[in-house]
Symmetry: C2
């Protein structure tokens, strides 16, 4: 019987899809780029905007963003980091104070030159990030060691007018992020915070978005412009074989302090310079989530970030007791809501159940509950998992317990599946030939490296091509043993460390 039902349901679904043109045109494994663009639009996360590289973040996106925001904001408040808001605009003069920094951002800076019909006296930049916006004031606010640490964060928009291929969430001209900026009396305190924040970023990816990431340090070439060292969490997109920088936590050292004269009198009464950090994660997180979990039916949302965890759909077959089914649906939503789940009922009468199935699958809702006459009769509901399509008949009395178990299981399965796929793409290589083969196979490559900037530049030059050059992703904190005498895969010099390499976003 179940099989027949399933067949009937499938037939029905196909019919509806044809009718309404729901469903994706592109397949994830066949045309990843088009698939991605289609998913973010069809799931109602994104609307393309009439300015290239700018996107509308629709409510379905913002609900996820807010979930991450609530978590992260509470965590940093526990660390006594306080929210502030600094201006969107920065003068050319201040922007250019730190030479390396401005070199890194200059080509992407958007300039305001006019208000109304009037030319401004001097052009004003829109912040690409806020180091130079904030630090003149850090210099003013910090006088003695008792003013330290100074720890602020802001939730804001930033603008980087990039001309490379824009991609929703991943590479956009305006994006939302948080940026933390802190100053300490000692390097040890700064070092410690860098890792505390990085751990929060790991948790955002692994615990909320169900995406495995690697913690590590960026190479000198890839570190933040003007900083001392950069740590990051790195994710990987198997379909394109590209690494993606998930979020970064920088120790700025004393470079900015020097430029902006952020000095203090230390506890011995001597003049000293502060040690600074800055760290950020952005709406890029959501793009990684779509890329990693999405499938040919659309978005797949991890339960912990899904604004609707359970969608309840009445299935009133002909001659069914419509009123009783609706009542059962309402009770189900009420029961789940009372138990703390986010459950909604789709009672729209102008759409068929099949259309609704496809619609909510497209939007990635983790669990669907169908209630039809049979379910009513048996005092059960049918629960369908978004991640693997499994159908489970659940007695009404077990509903809360079972839904809890299933949502936990989906969260875990998504992470495990992503990790399995990611791990299958990690290749350990020791020679240049192995490296090139692994790169061509779209892998994330762990290789022994001499840690010389010139060698990294050389690797970039030698792998240049249509798909972009290979570069270092990070040197993982979790280092495999480096056998004595191991040589760099690229230079043949003695290797100093294991480093991840690959193409990246």
């Amino acid at each position: 019987m179940a099989t027949n039902n399933a067949k009937a349901s499938n037939a029905k679904k196909k019919e509806v899809k044809k009718e309404t043109k729901l469903g994706l045109t592109y397949k994830k494994d066949e045309n990843f780029g088009e698939w991605y663009s289609e998913v973010v639009v069809s799931s109602e996360m994104i609307e393309y905007y009439d300015i290239s590289g700018c996107y509308i973040l629709r409510p379905w996106t913002m609900a996820i963003w807010e979930t991450l925001q609530v978590f992260f904001d509470a965590q940093i408040k526990k660390m006594n980091i306080k929210n502030a808001y600094f201006p969107l605009f920065v003068t050319e003069n201040v922007l250019q104070k730190e030479k390396d920094h401005i070199e890194g951002f200059a080509p992407e800076v958007a300039w305001v030159t006019k208000s109304g019909q009037t030319d401004l006296e001097v052009p004003i930049a829109i912040r690409p990030t806020s180091e130079t916006v904030m630090y003149p004031y850090f210099s003013k606010w910090i006088r003695g060691h008792r003013d330290l640490p100074l720890k602020v964060n802001q939730w804001c928009n930033v603008v980087r007018w990039e001309f490379s291929h824009p991609t929703p969430f991943i590479r956009s001209r305006e994006f939302l992020w948080q940026e933390g900026h802190t100053a300490f009396a000692t390097k040890a305190e700064a070092d410690e915070e860098v890792l505390q924040i990085l751990e929060l970023y790991r948790r955002i990816y692994e615990e909320f978005l169900a995406i495995p990431v690697i913690k590590g340090q960026k190479s000198e070439l890839e570190k933040f412009a003007g900083g001392l060292y950069t740590t990051s969490v790195e994710a990987f997109i198997p379909n394109t074989g590209r690494g993606i920088q998930g979020a970064t936590s920088h120790c700025l050292g004393q470079n900015f302090a020097k430029m902006f004269q952020i000095n203090f009198e230390n506890d011995k009464g001597e003049k000293a310079m502060v040690w600074q950090n800055s760290w950020a994660y952005s709406t890029r997180t959501l793009g990684v989530m779509v890329m990693v979990h999405g499938d040919d039916k659309g978005l797949v949302l991890p339960p912990r970030v899904a604004s609707i965890q359970v969608i309840v759909i009445p299935v009133p077959y002909k001659d069914a007791d419509v009123t009783a089914i609706k009542a059962a649906c309402e009770t189900t939503v009420q029961t789940l809501s009372n138990a703390g789940f986010s459950a909604e009922l789709d009672t729209r009468e102008n759409y068929s159940p099949g259309w609704k199935y496809s619609h909510w699958e497209m939007k990635g809702v983790p669990l669907r509950i169908e209630i039809g006459p049979k379910d009513l009769e048996k005092n059960q509901v049918r629960v369908v998992r978004r991640d693997n399509g499994a159908k489970i008949d659940v007695p009404v009395n077990d509903l809360v317990e079972k839904v809890k178990e299933l949502l936990g299981s989906i969260q875990e399965s998504l992470f495990n599946a992503a990790k399995e796929k990611r791990d299958a793409c990690i290749k350990v290589v020791n020679t240049w030939d192995e490296f090139i083969a692994a790169l061509n196979d779209k892998n994330m490559i762990l290789a022994p490296w001499c840690d010389e900037e010139e060698v990294e530049k050389d690797v970039k030059a030698r792998t240049k091509g249509e798909l972009g050059a290979a570069k270092t992703l990070c040197t993982p904190f979790d280092q495999p043993r480096l056998a004595e005498g191991t040589l760099c895969f690229a230079s043949g010099k003695p290797a100093k460390k294991w480093t991840y390499w690959g193409r990246s976003y």
Copy 2:
């Protein structure tokens, strides 16, 4: 004894103030403008920025803003309004679609014309508000009556490059706000929502910020550019005798719908046009709060928005049992925190108790608790109210109950005091002479009006001067009886309504 203590404490305070130059240079009643600038800076709400009209919102500000945000966001979510985020940028083409609207904003629009060293093909505007950013997409998303209502809100920054005298919070070139944008099938639904939102704005002012406001409708001349009608909550600043628009809830009617072709098929299958609203409140709210409650000692925070409600200060007179005092302070903070109050301990050893009193008074913390040897001995704490300076000795056992009562009382007193002062400035006039006299006396004037735009323009022209012209503030919903035969104070024509007039921010 208490009197002696108070005297000693006062003497001490004066000495410390002299030492450290804490305290305000300007008095609220003598030089309001300078007093305001000094308070927002000295209380650490604002830092002036090196671009005129832009200000840094420091953590002390953001904590208040977030309190209002949490309240408002939860309320609109209950109304099924969902958060979205639309781009910061808008093309000239789209910005100019609604003629009246762009006329209202054009002189203040900031234009991006360059990125890096490259000129943009066409200049791009920074949103002064987002009607024209959003509505082309409303047109796309709304097809049938089942797509309605469409209700979104966004928390964002907007830019209005005004050249008139900038004032922190009140008139700044960039500010933070929420802007809600909704579309309905019927005017009745739009009308209803306008007032629901206006009521939330009233609650922000009256229940959170302890500021009395008047709900009413703007005149045709003062309404939102391009809208149908505008409602607002109006506050009043007695010191300057100026009204201030607190927040606005607009019914846009169908004007934007016409320009952006936001049509739908109604339930009869006919093509119809949506009815739209937009509504916003901004960081201006915080400026009104400073202006209304602040005094010559600095900021005065209403307890409901104070991020620290109670500051606990140890007062270790010479030879006192410092350890026991500190322990008592810690217990006090713990007890209050456990009871749900926001209490903090100021243990800094490099500052005297007197300096700390002044410091936390400047920052407006509602209650200060002092614990010295005498208090320890008597198993009590001394509680000092920020609003009226009253000192109350509270037995430790009554602490939670008494603090609750005092915070409630402060919230109420602040509102009542503000209302009393505001009400004392409301003058009812019937003739032009009375009107001019009342205006010169810095009043908020309630006058019978013929409701003709030409007459309002005429009043503006006739009252032009150094302090700015008088204009309508709002026509209050709560209308006094208009006796038959009442004539307009300005035109002598039959009056149609009572309207508030005055100078304004």
